[in-house]
Symmetry: C2
Subunit: 347 residues, 2 copies
DNA sequence: ATTAGCACTCTTTTGAGTTGAGTGCTAACA
DNA sequence: TGTTAGCACTCAACTCAAAAGAGTGCTAAT
């Protein structure tokens, strides 16, 4: 074969095969290609070219005497070189305005739903990870004799709270001191920065209440890092039932369970090993994905960024023959909407 | 037929049919019954009895020359009269200890999972509804120049919070007054009791800040009633794939979508029209359930009660031939664990 | 009242035959 | 040398009838 692996004609044929297979989900034969393209070649010629394409690994046959379907390599080529980068209308998405005061959780759920409806695939969104997010405000209050409420507000107005059991009540004056102490010492620190050293200093300064301060700090730390097992919102998981190649009984059960459990999905969303430089969108085709169960799926993800270091992921999971163009456009639009949305001050 | 609709022998046969069908999921024939019971009757006799039972509506034939399966009426009879009320071991459940400081949400998710694993059906749990729950503590704090944080603690240590946008900052002294005002006027009131009248009074008392007080109250009200569309946790939805009578393609999609959307499930959990007096457990068989999609399912629910008027529901959804005994035992145990758990002071 | 026996019904399974889409190869052609 | 027509071959999918099997209802004997 020549220096360039695919000449123009082969490219066109490959493109035609993939396009057709994406629409029908059926193996596509030489005759179909010869009839429905402007190449004006006979089926026999197409057959020859197809044999070449198969040898090169771009397409494969489910069995002798069946048409061809794209291989992972074929899809990869399609995604990398064949997709047109047109700016498409993604109407609903554009109109979708996010209010800043809206609870993040609610917005993300909404987004996941919208994305799933728009694409007809399963969608997945993670809340931003706050590892390096900073504490903005912190307050303890007496709820009743034996309970203290700790509230922590993080950069981006993410609010965490926790009820703490205490042995003996703390009077209001002490509480005020404690609040000032905590705020002056912890505000502006990122979560990673609150370590044992900081805690020791705090304990010392707390004086008489040093015995409870560690309780409190534990609780605060817990509240902050509470979703270390990060929140994942999914929607449209049942969409996979629409694609016969994924829904043969046993397979579908595995896939849906994966979605229900969610914790497996984390790996999809934390390892961004093939991030593409310009678009910020990653595409995993078949076995490229880190989850074995999803070897018959493709996964497209985008990372959004609320502020420095505060990142989340949005993604779509569907059959390999998914409509990559539409999906990528949708993700791009959504990413743009989410980027920095909670960072800005109010509208 | 005699005054008593079912004599002892018919009851035994019906019982045997149901038991057998629950295990196998296949229509059961006269021969099977005659062989595997201690009745010592020939299949012919059984056949005669079966014909009677069919005429009475307790069993039915999918088609001529097939065995019998229980009808809804049959299941109902089974549930009402045939289940033995033995105190079974529900080991894992017993060991499951709930910490009071644990976030409610987390506990409920955990419970749902446990229940689904224990039974192999789909489980559903709702957070307690707080309509008539009382405000215990309330606090506004300045987060930054343009944001106020409102935190509300309800009876049962349920914490709600909301960030409020404000036009102009409020100084600390004013904030203190506002807090005292709110706490003295709202603490102890139930959510239903905070109406326009209360709000008008508050506004008047607020004086110079009356313009922002309605914003604040709106936000507080919103925070409190935020999940008027009440939180529902499900687990094990994919378990329904295990029961062939539910999983013929089209059906399964509908069912799973129901679970994903969740909002339909509310009706299962709010209308308790057939509550049974002593056990506190409700059983809906087939069409007795308020959701059409679930006409081939049975639903068993139990209501737990955290405090006065603060109720939630736990439930199981499975095929009609579910193991009612096991399910009801599980629910009973779980209900006992949940009843009043957050009401009590700390352990 | 119970049971053995038999004819009958209806689903499920099986397997052979047919169809049809698609391929690979060869030989002819421009 | 690249393209095409033609033909034999393959293999999944469909059809259809026959056979098997499970179960019933009824009748006559016990």
């Amino acid at each position: 074969m020549s220096e360039q692996e695919l000449d123009e004609r082969k490219t066109k044929i490959l493109h035609a095969i993939i396009k057709n297979y994406m629409e029908t989900g059926e193996p596509v034969g030489s005759r179909t290609i010869s009839k429905y393209t402007d190449l004006n070649l006979s089926s026999a010629t197409i057959r020859n070219e197809m044999a070449d394409l198969e040898e090169l690994g771009y397409i494969l046959q489910p069995h002798t005497s069946a048409g061809r379907i794209p291989s992972d390599k074929g899809y990869r080529f399609y995604v990398d070189h064949l997709i047109e980068q047109k700016d498409r209308e993604v109407s609903e998405m554009k109109e979708f305005v996010i209010e800043h005061t809206e609870k993040m959780e609610r917005v993300l759920k909404q987004m996941a739903k919208l994305l799933a409806n728009n694409t007809n695939y399963a969608s997945i969104i993670t809340a931003p990870q706050v590892h390096s997010n900073k504490v903005k405000f912190l307050q303890l209050s007496n709820v009743d004799a034996s309970h203290i409420l700790a509230v922590v507000v993080l950069e981006g107005n993410i609010v965490k709270n926790k009820i703490i059991d205490v042995e003996e009540p703390i009077d209001n004056e002490q509480m005020l001191k404690l609040n000032i102490l905590l705020n002056t010492n912890l505000t502006g620190l990122s979560i990673d920065q609150i370590n044992l050293g900081t805690i020791a200093v705090l304990k010392e300064k707390a004086g008489i209440h040093s015995n409870i301060i560690s309780d409190v700090l534990d609780a605060v730390a817990e509240a902050i890092s509470e979703d270390e097992d990060l929140e994942i919102y999914t929607s449209g998981a049942t969409n996979i039932l629409k694609y016969p190649e994924l829904s043969d009984s046993g397979r579908v059960s595995e896939l849906l369970t994966e979605f229900e459990e969610k914790n497996q999905l984390v790996s999809l969303v934390t390892e961004h090993f093939s991030e593409e430089e310009n678009t910020g969108i990653q595409v995993y085709i078949g076995n490229e994905a880190p989850i074995q169960t999803m070897k018959d799926c493709s996964i497209v993800t985008a990372t959004y960024e609320l502020g420095e270091g505060v990142k989340g992921t949005i993604g779509i999971i569907g059959p390999k023959r998914m409509d990559y163009e539409n999906v990528m456009d949708n993700l791009k639009t959504l990413k743009a909407q989410l980027d920095g949305i909670w960072k800005k001050p109010k509208s």
